[in-house]
């Protein structure tokens, strides 16, 4: 079992670098948006969802209503309902233990622990989370406290690292024609909805594409 944790830590190393950088840019943005230094760190510790936190900070920073900041962030995190439901059958133990596995779910930990047959490696999930959670917190703290001394992460192309990481992860998940169909359909649904819906909706709507797997095996 320890080996699986370690495996999770090993495979998440490339992601940790990107997550720290993303955390730094969130910390800087949140500070600029007038959130102070402590609130962004607490935000990262509890919400642990980069895009949701970015959306909330951006809306607050541009003078938007608290309700819209909350709604946008929750919409962006709603995909975790589907991801948590997907790992559920692979979990054992009591309610608290299952809850901890659920909280360990972020895009990267979920995708890296997917075995490709609909089941999940729960120890690997925890291993990835144990790497990426501190990375996210440390990045946020560096950005929120040391913000001004750091340049613009976009100039370094770091905003392009995540699509690349997700693409590489997606390719590892394409194990049958159905998976390819699900990816194409999911990508198409999200692309079509981007211009018409608030951020978050395109992603959660794309989960409908998983229905191609219903005839399964």
């Amino acid at each position: 079992m320890l080996g699986r944790y370690r495996e999770g830590i090993r495979v998440s190393a490339p992601f940790a670098v990107a997550v720290v950088a993303f955390g730094v840019s969130f910390g800087v943005l949140a500070r600029t948006a007038g959130m102070g230094a402590v609130a962004p760190i607490v935000f990262s510790a509890t919400t642990w969802g980069g895009s949701a936190q970015f959306a909330a900070a951006a809306i607050l920073g541009s003078g938007g209503a608290v309700a819209s900041a909350i709604a946008a962030a929750l919409l962006l995190n709603s995909r975790y309902l589907a991801m948590s439901a997907a790992i559920a059958p692979s979990l054992t133990g009591g309610a608290l233990r299952r809850a901890l596995h659920g909280v360990a779910v972020v895009d990267e930990s979920w995708a890296l622990s997917a075995r490709g047959d609909g089941t999940f490696d729960r120890d690997k999930l925890i291993g990835v989370a144990l790497t990426l959670y501190p990375a996210w917190l440390a990045g946020t703290a560096i950005g929120a406290i040391g913000g001004d001394a750091i340049g613009d992460p976009e100039a370094l192309g770091l905003d392009a690292a995540f699509p690349a990481l997700f693409l590489a992860l997606m390719v590892t998940q394409l194990r049958s024609r159905q998976h390819v169909a699900a990816a194409l359909l999911g990508g198409a649904i999200a692309t079509l909805l981007i211009p018409f819906t608030p951020a978050g909706v395109p992603i959660i709507a794309a989960s409908v594409a998983a229905l191609v797997g219903v005839r399964g095996r």
């Binding site: 509890t46 919400t47 589907a82 059958p89 609909g118 192309g157 699509p163 690349a164 999911g186 981007i194």
Partner: protein, 102 residues
């Protein structure tokens, strides 16, 4: 409590619930094969959606910016079976170059 802290508290609490509740309620149950098929297809579908939203997503509009060049470079790297970190670095470098010259 200021708006910032209200946002942090509400989003934080609900996000934890969003992740924990399905795992607790559905945890450890036998699922029909059809549902397993859906869970199997969920990973490629959601990852594809993340790729397009993080590359072409703007403020409720599709945008073409240096991130697209990064994704293109990453696609080549992935096709050449480069390790995942190499794909990310290639994407970042390509996006930075395009951003610097445009």
């Amino acid at each position: 409590m200021t708006g910032v802290w209200v946002t942090v508290a509400v989003v934080g609490a609900v996000s934890v619930a969003i992740k924990a509740v399905p795992a607790v309620i559905l945890g450890g149950r036998e699922v029909p094969a059809a549902v397993t098929g859906i869970f199997e297809a969920l990973a490629p579908a959601l990852l594809a959606a993340l790729v397009v939203t993080q590359t072409f997503g703007g403020d409720e509009e599709l945008v073409l910016d240096p991130r697209a060049a990064g994704l293109g470079a990453a696609a080549v790297a992935v096709a050449l079976r480069a390790p995942i970190l190499v794909a990310a670095v290639v994407a970042a470098v390509a996006a930075a170059i395009v951003r610097a010259i445009t």
